[in-house]
Symmetry: C2
Subunit: 197 residues, 2 copies
DNA sequence: TGAAATATTAACCTTATAGTTAAATCAAAT
DNA sequence: ATTTGATTTAACTATAAGGTTAATATTTCA
C-alpha cells in the first residue's frame, strides 16, 4: 500500500462531502468531485464503485456526525437547564462550522424517505424517554411535560436553532438590509411590496 | 385560439408546479412533467420555451403565493397579539395545504442566490419597520423590541411554524414512534443509539 | 531486483435528457 | 369547403453524465 493511498481516497471523500453538501445528490456531478479532489472520474469509481455508493458513505458519515451532537442530552451529570444551555451553545457552534449540514440531511431524507427508517430504527424511544424521566422527572412534572409535549418542545428548540442556518442565505440578506435601516436615510419611500420574509 | 388552449398550458403549468416542488429543479425531468400533464415534451417547449423558463414561471408564482400570506402583518386593524394569532393560524393552515412550499423556496434560493436579491429588492424595510412602529410602538417599547430584535423574533416565529413542515417526513416518523411509547410495552431495551433527532 | 499488488490515466461506451424539427391535426374565419 | 394560424405529435439530435476498460505507472515485499 503506498503512502498516498489513503490520502487520495480521503481527498475524494472530502471533496465529495463538500460538493454533495453544497449541491445535493441531483445537483452533484462526479466530474466536479474529481476535479475538486485533484484526480479524475475513474478514481472515484475505483475507490467508491458508484455515485450512489460514494454518496451513501458521505451521508452516513455526516448524519452520524450531526446526530452524535445530541448525545449529551442523556448525560446524567447535567440538569435540564444545563442541557438546554449546552444544547444551544454547542449545537449552534457546531452548525456555524457546518452550516449546510441540516439542510443537506433534510433534503436527502426527503429525496429518499426510506433513509429515515434506517436512521430511526436504532433509537429506542421508550428507553430514551424513561432515561430522561428518571433524570428530570420532577422538572418534567413541574413544567407539565409529557412524552408528546416533550417532542413538541424539542422540535421547537431544534427549529429555533436550525432554521436560521437552513434559510441562511435568505436571513443574511435580510440582516444586511435591516442593519442599513439604523444608519441609512431612506432615499425613496415609494412602492412597498407586501413581502415580509 | 382554440378552446383547449388555456387548458393545456394550465395543465402543464400545474404539473410543473407539482413536480418542481416535489423534486426540485435538478431532480425534475421534463418528461415527467409532460407525462403528469398528459402531453409530451415538445409541448412544454412550445408553451414555455425551456426548462429554465418553465421553472422561472413556477417559482415566481409560488414565491408570491407564499409571501402574500404575510400581508396582514401590515394591516392597521389588528393588534400585535391578533397578528400573532392570525399568523400562526392562517400561515400554518396554508402550509398544511402546501407542505413542500417552504422547502422548495429555500432550496431554490440556495441554488441560485441571485434570486434573493430580486425578491428582496422590492421590500422597503425602513418603511416596513416605520409602519409597524407607528401601529405597535407602545407594545414594542413595552417588550423592548428594536429593529434588530424584531427580526430575530420574527425569524424564531417563522422557524417554529415552518420547520415542522420542512422536516415533515422526519417529524412524522418520530411522531409515529413516539405515540407508540404510550401504548406499547418495549420488547427489548438493548442497544440505544445516541441519536435523538 | 523483479514479480505481484495496487494506483492512476486517458480514451471509450451507454444512457438519459434537454431541446429541435417537420409534418399532421384541428378550430375558426372567410 | 378552403385557407390560415395555432396546436399537437413522433421522430430525431446533441450533449452531458455516469460508468467501464485496458494500458501504464507506482509501490510493496519476497
Amino acid at each position: 500500500m503506498k503512502a498516498s493511498d489513503i490520502q487520495t481516497e480521503d481527498k475524494i471523500f472530502e471533496a465529495a462531502t463538500e460538493v454533495f453538501q453544497e449541491k445535493g445528490y441531483d445537483g452533484t456531478r462526479m466530474h466536479d468531485i474529481a476535479q475538486k479532489a485533484g484526480t479524475n472520474k475513474a478514481l472515484l469509481h475505483y475507490y467508491f464503485r458508484s455515485k450512489d455508493a460514494l454518496f451513501e458513505a458521505v451521508f452516513q458519515k455526516l448524519a452520524s456526525k450531526l446526530f452524535s451532537k445530541f448525545t449529551p442530552i442523556l448525560s446524567p451529570e447535567l440538569s435540564l437547564e444545563e442541557k438546554l444551555h449546552f444544547f444551544f451553545r454547542e449545537h449552534i457552534e457546531f452548525l456555524k462550522e457546518n452550516p449546510r449540514l441540516p439542510f443537506f440531511i433534510i433534503n436527502e431524507l426527503n429525496r429518499k424517505p426510506e433513509r429515515i427508517q434506517r436512521l430511526i430504527r436504532n433509537i429506542d424511544f421508550k428507553l430514551f424517554y424513561k432515561t430522561l424521566s428518571e433524570q428530570h422527572g420532577k422538572e418534567f412534572e413541574k413544567y407539565d411535560i409529557t412524552p408528546d409535549s416533550l417532542l413538541q418542545i424539542m422540535t421547537s428548540i431544534a427549529a429555533i436553532s436550525i432554521f436560521p442556518f437552513i434559510g441562511k442565505n435568505f436571513s443574511k440578506s435580510l440582516w444586511r438590509i435591516s442593519t442599513k435601516i439604523s444608519t441609512n436615510i431612506s432615499k425613496k419611500e415609494k412602492n412597498l411590496h407586501p413581502i415580509l420574509f
